[in-house]
């Protein structure tokens, strides 16, 4: 695990300043900003109602009236893509954050206390990992009901094992270091050691990993929506738009391609930002 190699944690900021981030990185940041803005301000933007059906204007190509054209029900594709970003981003960001909280806590506890707690935690994660993730997600959503909250919780649960492993690996790498031993020797409580000594060193690799997790979870939401088990219709979602567009590939490929391109760019941006930041916080990779 790359994070286990974190020996020069203190070098990271200096290295970051010296190495330029590059324009691709900033392009990705700008794109994430644009998509975030669209998701937050969708109501305020001059967009058509994303669920307004007009059967007279079905499967139209891009035009001045409909910049990205219309879908098989005559709904404005641009408007649906913007509103769809709400589902994708909300689910992706919130479930990644929940996984970060739960996995980070579990990993920190497991890596610090070791022993039986660690074995039990990691065995529980192995059980979760052995489960086919989509089947688990489908079954849980079938049980809890299909809405955004359950979708978010399910994807968060599926992401906990990986977050736990990252947090544990980072903790293990520093738990025996001098400053931790010194804090213990000075009589610091377990809680204080974990919060004041370990957490600041673990949180950085974990946050970077979470950025990549967001990309994975946006895809996850897309897959579930594509299968018809994501956000309930008529709410727009990139995955469900692609699924609807799949039927019209021969006459109006833009219906599937536009959400696909937007989703690809968003996932790519999160991956790019995450990967760039990781190569900075991880001296081993930066050296390559």
């Amino acid at each position: 695990m790359a994070a286990a190699e974190m020996t020069g944690v203190t070098d990271a900021p200096r290295r970051a300043r010296r190495r330029s981030l590059g324009w691709v990185f900033w392009l990705a940041v700008v794109w994430i900003g644009v998509v975030l803005f669209g998701a937050l301000a969708a109501n305020l933007l001059p967009l058509e109602d994303p669920s307004k059906i007009s059967l007279l204007a079905r499967r139209q190509g891009p035009s001045a009236l409909h910049l990205f054209g219309t879908d098989h029900l005559g709904r404005d594709v641009l408007s649906r893509v913007v509103y769809g970003s709400r589902a994708s981003l909300a689910v992706g960001l919130i479930s990644a954050f929940l996984a970060l909280l739960a996995g980070g806590t579990l990993g920190l506890l497991a890596g610090y206390f070791r022993g039986r707690l660690e074995s039990l935690t990691m065995a529980a994660m192995d059980v979760l990992l052995a489960f086919p993730p989509l089947v688990l997600a489908l079954a849980i959503i079938a049980y809890l009901g299909q809405d955004m909250v359950n979708l978010t919780l399910t994807l968060a649960l599926l992401s906990v094992p990986a977050s736990t492993r990252v947090a544990r690996a980072s903790t293990l790498a520093i738990a025996e270091r001098e400053f931790v031993v010194a804090a213990r020797a000075l009589g610091a409580s377990h809680l204080r050691v974990m919060l004041r000594e370990l957490l600041p060193n673990v949180v950085l690799p974990l946050l970077v990993y979470t950025l990549i997790l967001v990309a994975v979870l946006i895809v996850g939401e897309g897959v579930l929506s594509f299968l018809g088990l994501g956000v309930p219709p008529p709410m727009a979602s990139w995955g469900s738009m692609m699924s609807e567009g799949r039927e019209q590939l021969d006459v109006a490929p833009h219906i599937a391609f536009i959400p696909a391109i937007v989703m690809f760019l968003t996932v790519l941006s999160f991956n790019l930002v995450g990967d760039t930041l990781r190569s900075m916080t991880d001296p081993r990779r930066a050296a390559l």
């Binding site: 089947v135 799949r246 696909a260």
Partner: protein, 316 residues
Amino acid sequence: MLRFIGRRVLYLVPVLLAVTLLTFMVASLLPGDLALAMLGDQATPENVAALRSKLGLDLPAWQRYLHWLSGVVVGDFGQSHRTGEMVLHAIANRLPVSIELMLLAQLGALVVGVPLGILCAARADSTLDRVLSGGAFGLLSMPSFMLAILLIFAFSVHLGVLPATGYTPFTQDPVANLVSMVLPAASLALVEWPALMRILRSDMITTLQEDFIAMAKAKGLKRRRILFVHALKPSSFTLVTVTGLNVGRLIGGALVIETIFALPGLGRLLIEAIYSRDFIVLQGGVLFVAVAYVLVNFIVDLLYTVLDPRIRHGRG
């Protein structure tokens, strides 16, 4: 070596037991009354009650679990309440499709990813390396279902050379079978090769800095021989791990790809079982997939010992 295997097996038993428990819980959590669903809207309460007791649904959950588990241990996964088909039989019917898809996808990913990974490592930071690495990074952000749509558009709708859906069993017509598998396998392989390439590239760059590579160069060995014979094996640990994980994951069927291309694989079996509340099939199918996943990972662990003698002789 034996102790290593023994310890891993001992660890697997509680993990697999927990998997059966979780599987059972998930399956019994599914809403809807199976007896009611089977009888339809003509059912009287007495009929439903009779069927429930016949199926054992009126027993407490832990009794049902133990009953199911005792069957599983001796290889009896039960039979579908809906179709009456034996669960193991249903799995055996679907498994070849998923395995064929998995093998073709892995083969494709390795055939493309490994040579390109070696090439990029050998010419690290050249223009070629930058272009390939950049392209690989872009492809990594494309989920397989998105690629499937693109491939269907290009090869089925636009060029009309490959079928978008449909499946022919291999035994019936091997050529038609392979033709129907090209797009599904390509959708998976195209997502996977960039990951394999990047991993191998990064590990191999590290290996190429080792002393024994300098030694091989000093001996005047050919560059190709050094790369493929001396450097590949010690660089392939992460590659083997990731390939193993992919194999384990895909044995359970590539659910989305099987859905898009209408392939009758294990993934479809599981999803149909969820939709129809056929929980015996779901339990058996998920358990089978989970066991396969755990076993594949176990085999990967054993492969390490083949790749690196130090693990064989050192600590387990």
